[in-house]
Amino acid sequence: MAARVLLNSVQRLIVGKAFVTRNFSSETRTVTLIPGDGIGPEISESVKTIFAAAQAPIAWEPVDVTPVKGPDGLFAIPQKAIDSVHKNKIGLKGPLATPIGKGHRSLNLALRKEFNLYANVRPCKSIEGYKTPYDDVDIVTIRENTEGEYSGIEHVIVQGVVQSIKLITKEASIRVAEFAFDYAKSNQRSTVTAVHKANIMRMSDGLFLRCCRHVAEKNTDIKFNEIYLDTVCLNMVQDPTQFDVLVMPNLYGDILSDLCAGLIGGLGVTPSGNIGADGAAIFESVHGTAPDIAGEDKANPTALLLSAIMMLRHMGFGDYACRIEKACFDTIREGNVLTGDLGGKSTCSEFTNEICRKVEAT
């Protein structure tokens, strides 16, 4: 009896830390697909087509997250969509148009709260064939996504004087720091750097920094250092190659992730992943819905495709991820079939088909 209790505890200990979504068999996994608005549906189709060409073991469950009015008069994500992500744990999301009007909360915020998405991960790697003023960029920003400067706690002291609370907790800081080190290990990265302004915000950033140091001590196989936010910005535009994995609180992450996207060519080519506390993860393109080109077969699916590739890696399907990624990067590097934003004249379908051809050839 005692032996069984001990065995169960040991099993919980081993399974507890691992990503519950890791899959080491080749069985098909179902993923929730949120095509989104504007160009969302067509770039989602591109991803599905390419995945089919690669015979990736992914089954798609499309859902609509267009908010519906609840009995309280407020708009909320439809229950069907929520249940789908809870069931599948993994989602891929296209761009969403935020409806404007009374009762609408931000959809992205709603998703984040519903699935407790605590870490936003943006790998920014220079793309051969898409030249920017910065070369050899290979940075991953990991942003704490639940608290910090975006806790939404504001109040008016007197007319003309407003206070905003930056909330930093030990729990959230440790959680994101642990994720950063785990990510570094799983993705063969050598260094994790905490970005902060603890010299000015001694208590809030100080706590964040101490939590990162604490986690670093338990992960001595990964190098750890600390850098001020302003120094990162100063150095990033002079030599981005000096940075590897960066972990930081919410606002700094919001800024640096967009900055790094700018280094490699913008939001149209940058993937993004949001990691949840109970194994859920939603990968998404972070560009806009581009309503001016929606439905015209002009959209560039690269950002959503790279996010889907991130998703495959997260799920343990590294081989499929590599094959599809190589096909995508080879297509861009060769430069024969590029969408307009990449400097070419091809359609979204032509770009997609070219990637499919390459994938099928491997």
Binding site: D230, M236, G262, L267
Partner: protein, 139 residues
């Protein structure tokens, strides 16, 4: 423009921006980004203005402790800050004189300290600036 997209725009198309005004933290970030874009802390000056007082200093406020005492610091940032100070005091001719000599030595003569990729010493840069000023003032 929404501040977040600004960072993306700053690294891809900074030329679109002119004067930017913003709260404290964002200013710290944008100021450092801007300095990095044009060559770093060695050549950017800054001024702090109040109702009664003004303080002029190097733009990014880096103390450069790692290169202290080695005669390799770039004097341009401090000199440009002092030119701004002279302008502020109403001594615009003097401010212009120093500023233009600094720019000539850096942009045309390309006498660069290591932070700009060169091998000149602090003293060499200063001497070149003094030489240019003397040539202009003795005409």
């Amino acid at each position: 423009m929404v501040i977040i997209n600004t960072y993306l725009q700053m690294v891809s198309k900074p030329q679109q921006f002119d004067v930017m005004v913003m709260p404290n933290l964002y200013g710290n970030i944008i100021g450092n980004l801007g300095a990095g874009l044009i060559g770093g802390p060695g050549i950017v000056s800054g001024m702090n203005l109040g109702d009664q007082f003004a303080i002029f200093e190097t733009g990014t406020r880096n103390s450069g402790r790692s290169i202290q005492g080695k005669n390799i610091a770039n004097p341009a940032a401090m000199l440009l800050a002092s030119s701004q100070m002279l302008d502020h005091l109403g001594l615009k001719d003097h401010g212009k004189l120093i500023r233009e000599s600094v720019k000539k030595v850096i942009s045309e003569e390309k006498i660069h300290t290591p932070d700009l990729g060169g091998q000149a010493t602090t003293l060499q840069v200063v001497q070149a600036i003094v030489k240019d000023i003397k040539e202009k003032t003795q005409q």
